[in-house]
């Protein structure tokens, strides 16, 4: 099932060879192999930064806000720490400047050997009051900033979601017929959410953890350079662990995401086909299929998450060795009351206090580094999610506007197909050299056996696909010279498969023309022969359809679909078997209305109904992707051996056939 070469390997700006989509242009076929080498993870994440750009002003404001809070709190925090720790708990006198700053009497707090218990107590109480007051003031500010942060990140996610939908809508039907909706849902809802983690993973966590790790090393260095060296050498073993695990983690996370997407597809597909499943009593089998998919998804999630857990536990094992070693070292030094190399932070020899302080600094530094690596493990999943987003975004839409495309102003005299060839898949030609002309003011019927290429012929006019070779001209110009959107604006289609949306009848009719007036909606419904049954609905035009709404028969839906096309008021109208489910009476009425409405327009009619075909000015008979006959009804029926006359021999002699049957 290879696709034609021109869209076989979609260009991907990132490492097209190793992680491209392969010759099929399919999504989600990575299976269990890792297509995202170690070094590319960061580049991938970096590439995602473009999505933060629209919100950069907000991000700057946010960081400024957090910075302001930090600037406010940091000195207060330092002062409080010193007050509580050194002055209150240890009873050491305050420096003169500090006493002056706090407006305290230096004779009591500075010029003494040790602070008196009552003074310490007073100091503590006022310090705690400051803490309470600062909390009361700062907390709402911090909460507000957090709310702002969530808003920004959601905004980023929202923009990405909309962009993904835009991309999905640009991709041709060739893509959509091969890809499941469930997978797209998963990409939109789950994979895209990973974008909200970028700021934290790329900036906040590395900066804060590395900062505190280095700070820890520096503090430890003031006590003992050897220990600082030990702490400084914690990263190589962690890096080895990280290197060994990260590829395995990525394989697992990709598998988990793919199997969960497949499960979503299973559910969606079953619900779409539930009527058939129930009619054929296949519920049990579908239940089994669902449970299998659910098992597979849970198993994949289990494997990947277990791997992550083993990784983080291993990280601690390594850190634990460092902690035990440094603790033992500090214990020995303290037991010996060994002198410090430098006199730092008021310590000159190893004491119990220093032992505690040292252990705290050392374990905090090690813990920060461990957190960084743990985050790295989690980042693998984020990267896989984002890679799945890029997979979709990097697909080159098959139909794209030329850079110099102009809007279609007028369709001129009509439409010309010149030697148009098209195939969906390499070995399945759909159209093999089609030539015809259709002029404004005429109705062209396209007939032929099922699967002969009728619908494809019209899809090319809408630029749902572009022909592999040959051209379609509109008003004497190649279709590709015009902006796709303007071409689609010039064409209205009533489709074979009647697609309605879960909203009111009125909204369904003006789906493509949201601004149409009620009168216009009514007129379109009248032409489509839908006004009568709509009037009988519980709430007329305001009746809800589909979702929690009223059920319509196929024939009724067909007429709404026609009304929708008519309302678009375009120079070209395509009716793809629009009347197949209509009874003869309605059909005749609808066609008569259409003929009248269609004066001065160009109408294509795909149908099997002789009663409809006869009204056409030209009939094109399509067989195996080629036009085998063309002409008016009379001309074609005159050819005794013709495809057309043999196709319609039965129906063209209705009087006889009807009478002949006993």
């Amino acid at each position: 099932m290879a696709h034609p070469p021109q869209n076989a390997v979609p260009p991907r700006s990132l490492e097209p060879g190793s992680k491209g989509l392969g010759p099929l242009g399919h999504l989600g076929q990575g299976g269990a192999q890792d297509r995202l080498p170690f070094r590319l993870v960061l580049r991938l994440l970096g590439r995602c930064l473009q999505w933060l750009r629209p919100l950069r002003r907000h991000l700057i404001a946010l960081f400024a806000g957090f910075g302001l809070v930090a600037v406010m709190l940091f000195p207060i925090g330092l002062l409080l720490l010193d007050l509580i720790w050194t002055r209150v708990l240890q009873g050491e006198p305050l420096p003169l400047e500090q006493a002056q700053l706090l407006g305290l009497d230096p004779t009591i707090v500075t010029h003494v050997e040790l602070l008196a218990p009552t003074v310490r107590r007073d100091l503590l109480e006022s310090a705690l009051l400051v803490v309470l007051a600062a909390t009361a003031i700062v907390t709402p500010l911090v909460l507000g900033l957090y709310y702002y942060q969530v808003w920004i990140l959601q905004r980023v996610n929202q923009l990405l979601r909309v962009r993904l939908l835009d991309q999905l809508q640009r991709l041709s039907m060739r893509f959509h017929s091969d890809h499941s909706i469930g997978d797209a849902i998963y990409r939109m809802m789950q994979d895209s959410a990973m974008v909200t983690q970028l700021v934290e993973l790329l900036f906040l966590t590395p900066i804060s953890t590395l900062g505190r790790y280095i700070f820890g090393i520096l503090i430890v260095a003031t006590f003992d350079p050897m220990m600082a060296l030990l702490l400084g050498l914690l990263w190589p073993p962690l890096l080895v662990l990280g290197y060994w695990f990260s590829q395995r983690l990525r394989v697992g996370f990709r598998e988990a995401r793919e199997t969960n997407a497949a499960l979503t597809s299973r559910i969606q597909e079953t619900l779409v086909g539930i009527k058939v499943i129930k009619a054929y009593g296949a519920e049990r089998r579908w239940q089994d299929v669902f449970e299998d998919a659910s098992h597979t998804a849970f198993d994949a999630a289990y494997r990947s998450r277990s791997r992550l857990a083993v990784f983080t536990v291993s990280l601690f094992w390594v850190c634990g060795i460092w902690l035990i070693a440094s603790g033992a070292f500090a214990a020995i030094r303290s037991a010996e009351s060994a002198p410090l190399m430098l006199e730092a932070l008021g310590f000159s020899i190893w004491t119990l206090g220093l032992y505690n302080f040292f252990k705290l600094r050392f374990s905090d530094g090690a813990g920060q580094l461990r957190l960084l690596f743990k985050t790295w493990g989690r980042t693998q999943d984020v990267a896989i999610g984002l890679d799945r987003i890029f997979e979709l975004l990097d697909l080159e839409p098959e139909v794209q506007d030329e850079p110099d495309a102009v809007p279609l102003e007028s369709i001129g005299k009509g439409i010309v197909y010149r030697n148009v060839r098209f195939r969906y898949q390499a070995d399945r030609p759909a159209l093999e050299g089609v030539d015809f002309e259709a002029s404004v003011g005429t109705m062209t019927a396209i007939v032929g056996p099922t699967g002969s290429g009728k619908t494809t012929l019209m899809a090319l006019l809408l630029r749902l696909f572009d022909p592999d070779s040959g051209t379609i001209e509109i008003g004497g110009q190649d279709l590709r010279h015009f902006q796709t959107a303007s071409v689609r604006d010039a064409v209205a289609v009533a489709l074979q498969e009647n697609l309605l949306f879960g909203t009111t009848v009125r909204e369904n009719i003006r789906y493509a023309m949201p601004d149409a007036s009620d009168a216009a909606v009514r007129e379109a419904a009248r032409v489509a022969g839908a006004d009568e049954f709509i009037a009988k609905l519980p709430n007329g035009y305001d009746t809800m359809l589909g979702e929690r709404g009223t059920k319509l028969s196929t024939g009724q839906r067909q007429r709404l679909s026609i009304a929708r096309a008519i309302l678009k008021d375009t120079p070209i109208l395509i009716l793809d078997e629009p009347t197949a489910s209509l009874d003869a009476e309605t059909e005749i009425r609808v066609l008569r209305n259409l003929a009248e409405w269609g004066r001065g327009r160009l109408i294509f009619l795909i149908t099997h109904r002789l009663s409809s075909i006869r009204r056409a000015d030209t009939i094109l008979v399509l067989r195996d992707g080629q036009i085998v006959e063309r002409g008016t009804h009379e001309e074609l029926t005159d050819r005794a051996e013709g495809v057309y006359s043999s196709l319609f021999r039965h129906e063209s002699q209705p009087g006889h056939a009807v009478g002949a049957r006993p």
């Binding site: 708990l89 909309v162 939908l165 809508q169 098992h295 277990s306 094992w317 070995d427 604006d489």
Partner: protein, 654 residues
Amino acid sequence: MSPVGQEKILGNFETLRVLGRAFRYAAPFRRRFAIKYLLSLGALLPLFITPWPVKIIVDHVIEARPVLPANYPAFLRPFTEALSGLPPNEILLWMIVLQAALLVLVGAVGTGGGERDRAESHLAGGHDQASRTENEANEGWSLASGLFGLIDFRFTIQLTQALNHHYRSRLFERIQALPMAVFDDERIGDAVFRVMYDTPAITHGVYRIILTPFTGAAFALATVGVIFLLFGDQPIFWQAALGMLAISLVVSLPFTGILRRRSRASREAGASTTSSLEEGLSNILAVQSLGAEDREQDRFGNDSWSAFANHRAVMVVGMGIFFFALLPGMWLGTKVFLYGADMVIAGAISRGDFILLFTYFLYLLFTCIDLGTLWIRLQESAVGLHRVFFLMDLPTEEEAPGTPELPQAVERVEIRNAHYAYPDGTPALRGVNLDLERGEIVALVGPAGAGKTTLAGLIPRFHDPDEGRVLFDGADARNFTRTSIREQVAFVFQETVLFDASVEENIRLGRPDASDADVRRAAVRAGADEFIRELPQAYRTRLGRGGGKLSVGQKQRIGIARALVRTSPILILDEPTSALDPETERALVETMEEARRERSVLVIAHRLSTIRHADRIAFVDEGQILEIGSHADLMARPDGAYRRFVELQTVGAA
């Protein structure tokens, strides 16, 4: 009207009921919960062991005081006796060995934040309901790390997943058992959301109900015990912790209703987003053809942003609770801090002891906050649970156990005075009588919306008549299971649904045990064989989503093959020929003629060429059969509705 989306707002009482029900649903897993409970308790132990090596190092290595076993709690006596008399260096060595063992086994070397670890595998989620839930569905954790933590973690994640799989499967089963009429209106995206993202609320809720209170209480008691052991009777700590429990309860309770409404709105908005996405993608052909991409993007964008906003609203409620509990909590904490500081100032305890004591107090405090906010945190679970149970509780087609199967191959179907109204109250059938015998072809004819499909749907019991009966060989259809009735019916729908499977498998849906030859024969008879063989892998070609690679007519023929492969006595064709070209239609009519030999055939059609082969033709309009008889009989009625119908068609053609 479809009942979906009309759930009641939960009150406190219903919340309790919903939670109680979740609890009962977890009953089959009670042994595994008991084990998880024991594992959780086991994971708490290291917390109480790890302080001792540190204390021993401080007291007997650094300060080099002799080990006096009498100063230690009874359970440590044998251990401390072994240490007593050893030189500090050897004590240190043994402590290193002990710490190393603790490191490997439970992943903790001390009490500080950086000195212990917890096994877990929480992944990043976004700021929306759906991505947050992915974690809940695969939640695994242990309060310990190391080998024990890994075992505990794996056990937990397996339990979580088993529970979720169980609930998902049960919900899916119930969805499949819903009556056909529900699916006419059902939003697929909503159901996807419920199965994927609402079911994990069950696990979450159950864990909160079963584990949090007990492990929390056990932990709190143990902490109080350790404080007592280390520092003697210090009632202020547990009093303050209890005070915090009260504060978090009092502060959070007024938010209960708000949180419930907000989190319900959040889930609903998430489900609508999924729905509008699913709908837009299902209809992508229409969207592209009609140039409605921008419109779809607006629609999805609005839904999506409203889901984000609702999720944010839930977060704001949480922030509110946090803020209002923070100040009284800090005041309490300050009191305790002052108390401890006084002890340091008075020289009763060292600064190190103070840190240890305060750390334990914080453990106790957070446990009490956990317990105090249990109820409020359960609200979010309850809302998810409610959405799951709501769908589970819709009346399904399930029959009372012991309902007999339709025993014999049906010879005769009779519909007697059947009335039926759509769920929205519009009457669809108004007193219909129709017979269908083996070997007979009956055609239903009439304008669109007349009720033909509804009438045909009575036979396989897609819906039961509101009034009147359907009889199989004289016995009321309601006496038999739907499955056994549907086994006897092959139904070809107006719009063919194909599944993402091979052509072969799609046909075989009609009869799973059909041989390759059977499948091929059915395809030949449905006029599908020719084009199927032209497909890249013929019968094994995998059809993409919805059979997107085939034309509508080709899909229809596969649908017909699916029905023909089923050797059932009743064949119902709902406009089988509407998308077929005349040639294929003729072939199909022949097939129908052939099929009638061993079956009854009911066909809904507009085309004269199909209809005129029927033995009897029923003209349906406005839910009633106006005329019934052979083509000749009906044509003989000068003012007959059927005659007018035929004339319009032939006049149109002639």
